[in-house]
Each structure stands twice: as structure tokens, then as C-alpha cells.
Amino acid sequence: MRKVLVALFALALALAFALAQRYLTEEELKRIQAGGKAYAEVFVNQRPDQALCSIHRNRLPADLLPKFLEEQRALIKYPASGKLMGDWRKGGAIFNNLQKANCFSCHYGSPEHLGGDVGPSLEKYGRNRGQSEAVQRYTYEVIYNAWAFFPCTVMYRFGAQGLLTPEEIADVVAYLLDPESDFNTKPAVGSR
């Protein structure tokens, strides 16, 4: 009896695996193995949402969007304290660190580094928007999981992928929103 159950479970698992949309075939994954263990692993462990963005080359068909957005939304978690704005000084250290969040590389507005223009300018972000609960929540959620708003965008999913903790994201939210933050009081590098 137990053996039958185990076999059934294995079969169900194999079926679920086969039905989930894969981007790379077994044959292709075998070739990728030649690139080394660490390189191959990220492709072997490609997530279903990553596979979907890869298959559709970052432009999801309209009929897939509602489910995709819903799944991405469900990944968002909040700080235990419930506070969406943390310490702006800590947030600045995260925002301006190339190895950490690397925000400035794509977004303009940092008083410490010249920003890029891949993402929208965030210059004086908090000054223009205020600190309402809605603005805090939106800012937090976009940083936590940008794909819940912009499917397949280049922006890292900091919370959903575990690159930053909820508390660290709240610190970055504070860096962007706090009226006292250097981000809102000091001129952006490159501004005239």
C-alpha cells in the first residue's frame, strides 16, 4: 500500500513537472552543464515566471497577465513591525551600493552617484509625492516585486528574490520618501 502511494506521488510530481512550462529542453540543459556548475544551476533552477518571460521575450500576451500579476502580488511580504518606512541613512547605503541594490545605476536622483536612464528618474522622489500611506505602500511593493506592476521588467525583484529583507526595503523607502533624507535635501549628481 505504501509503495503504491509513493509511486503515485512520484508520478504526480513528474506530471506536474512536465506540465509546468519549461524554457530550456533537457538537451539544451545538458549543453549548458559544460559552462560549469554555478552557471548551469541558474538555468536548471529557472523559475516558472522567469521561463514565461523568457519564452515571450519579456512581452507577455494579454491573456496571461491577470494570473501572472496575481501570482507576483502574492509573493509580497511586509515587515513584521508593519512600518513601511525605516531608517533613511541605512536605506541610502543600500541604494548607493553597486553590490547591494545598485539602484543608482539605472535611476537618476542619487546625491552620491551619477544615475543612469534605464529606469525613470527618481529625483527628489519624496518631495513630489509626499509620505501618504498609499505612496509608501506603492513604493515598497514596487521595490519588493516590480513584476507585480511591470511584468518581466529589468528591475530586480528585491524582496521576492531575497536580495533585500523587508526591513531593508523599508529603509530604502525611507531614503526615497523621508523629507529629511539626503535624497530629498541634496541635489542629485548631474543636476544643474
Binding site: 559544460a34 559552462g35 552557471y39 529557472q46 523568457s54 521575450r57 536612464d117 534605464v118 529589468v154 531575497g162
Partner: protein, 259 residues
């Protein structure tokens, strides 16, 4: 000599840093090259090509030089050979680019053991062989099944999203061409920028000699994605995909001189 060039470059770089942001990086590279030529009298690319030529004519343990090897157009024929790589080779039964074909030559024909093959020597020899393709058009084909399969894999890798940062080549080099994250705007690697023809190259900003293999590995490394091993199939797949999409482009100068 290399050291003197490096020191000189460091001084130049202060000027580059100050001028950053306003200048077209390609124009700036041309200016830096001219400056270097006027002051040093010789370019680092020329030094490395000369070094590569010496290594090419060095006898291996088997007593043979690299002139005994076929780089795709026949034994010892170098003129235009690099512009037709990567390609499938019958003798190894696989697709090889310039770097891997050099390794094949050193190990199978010259008799070096694989662990004796130094990367710096492979790069110098690649610089030399590539220099014989300046002015030629990129002419890469998808004739053998192995070429077609590797191309298909390269295309998939180019459009893949993977790793903790969800990154992938196309996400910047297609979607954000011309936009900037860091110092340089994203090149249109499949289109007008013909990036395949920019490597191998000397990078004056970091005093580095790179082939396309190093360039691809650095792309991954810069965005914190694990890198494919040198000479490995995923690198070759991406190279074949890039080269084929730049077919017909004229090689302005190999090795190139870039930021």
C-alpha cells in the same frame, strides 16, 4: 613597456573621468588611441599582435608551429579566417571559435598538454590571427546540424531570464539600447552597433586584453550572474548567435581599441 603604457594610461584616465558624460564613448576611444599613438609611438594592440605572432611561430613539443593548423580556410591560411568563426570543424566534430581553435591547435597539433595552455598566450595569438581579418566581412554560416543547434541554444540564452536578479542579455541589449546604466549606453549588439566586430580588443580604461569570450563572461559578472567557463558550449552558443546576427558587417579593425 607594458608598465609604462599602463602608467601613462592612468594619467590619461583622470582626463577621461573629468570629461565623462558629455562625450560619445566611441569618439572618445578614437581620441585616446590617437593620443596614445602620438605619445608612446606604438599601440598596446600592436605590441600584443607582435607577441602573438611570435607565439604563433614558436615550435611546440611536437616540433610544429601553429602554421601547421587549419583555422577554417586551410592549413596555415590566416587571411580572413577569423571573420568566418565560429564554425564547425570536422576534425574535432564540434563548433569552435578563434579561442578554442587555438587551444585545439596547441594541444592536438603542437603537442602541448591542456594544462600547459596559458590563457594570456591564447589571447595574444587570437589578437594576431584576428589582425589578419581587418577589412573582411563577417561571414558565419549555419550549415552543419551542430552549428544550427548551437545557434538555437545561443538565441535562447540571449533571451533567457535567470538568476536571483532575473537578468538576461536581451533585457538590456534589446529593450534598453542607447540607455545608460553606468558609464556606457547599452550597445545594440544584434543590430547597428555590430558588437561582434569590436572584439578581440584592448580596453584602455582597464588596460585589459579581451576576446569576445572574456567580454561575455564580464557581461554576466557585472550583473552578478554566474559566468560560463571559458571555451564552454554556452559561450560558443552565444558567440555563434551574435556573429551570425552581425553577418555582412565589415571588421573595421581587429584587434579593436575600446573603452
Amino acid at each position: 613597456m607594458r608598465k609604462a603604457v599602463g602608467l601613462f594610461l592612468a594619467t590619461l584616465l583622470v582626463g577621461v573621468a573629468l570629461a565623462q558624460g558629455q562625450v560619445d564613448p566611441r569618439e572618445e576611444a578614437k581620441r585616446q588611441k590617437q593620443l596614445l599613438l602620438e605619445t608612446a609611438g606604438i599601440l598596446p594592440t600592436e605590441l600584443i599582435v607582435a607577441q602573438g605572432e611570435e607565439l604563433f611561430n614558436r615550435k611546440g613539443p611536437s616540433g610544429k608551429t601553429m602554421a601547421e593548423c587549419d583555422f577554417g580556410l586551410g592549413k596555415g591560411v590566416l587571411e580572413g579566417a577569423a571573420a568566418r568563426l565560429p564554425r564547425y570543424f570536422l576534425d574535432t566534430n564540434r563548433v569552435e571559435d578563434l579561442d578554442s581553435r587555438i587551444v585545439t591547435c596547441m594541444t592536438r597539433v603542437q603537442g602541448f598538454k591542456p594544462e600547459q595552455v596559458k590563457r594570456s598566450e591564447v589571447v595574444a595569438i587570437a589578437f594576431y590571427i584576428a589582425s589578419k581579418s581587418t577589412g573582411h566581412r563577417i561571414q558565419v554560416r549555419l550549415l552543419f546540424p551542430e552549428e544550427r543547434e548551437l545557434y538555437a541554444l545561443g538565441e535562447k540564452l540571449f533571451y533567457a531570464r535567470s538568476g536571483a536578479r532575473d537578468v538576461g542579455c536581451a533585457t538590456c541589449h534589446v529593450t534598453y539600447v542607447g540607455r545608460r546604466a553606468g558609464v556606457l549606453p547599452y550597445a545594440d549588439v544584434l543590430g547597428k552597433d555590430k558588437s561582434w566586430t569590436h572584439w578581440p580588443a584592448y580596453r584602455y580604461s582597464n588596460d585589459q586584453t579581451w576576446t569576445m569570450q572574456d567580454r561575455i563572461r564580464a557581461c554576466y559578472g557585472n550583473i552578478a550572474h554566474p559566468q560560463p567557463a571559458l571555451y564552454s558550449q554556452p559561450i560558443l552558443a552565444l558567440e555563434l548567435f551574435l556573429a551570425y546576427n552581425n553577418n555582412g558587417a565589415v571588421v573595421e579593425e581587429w584587434p579593436a581599441f575600446v573603452r
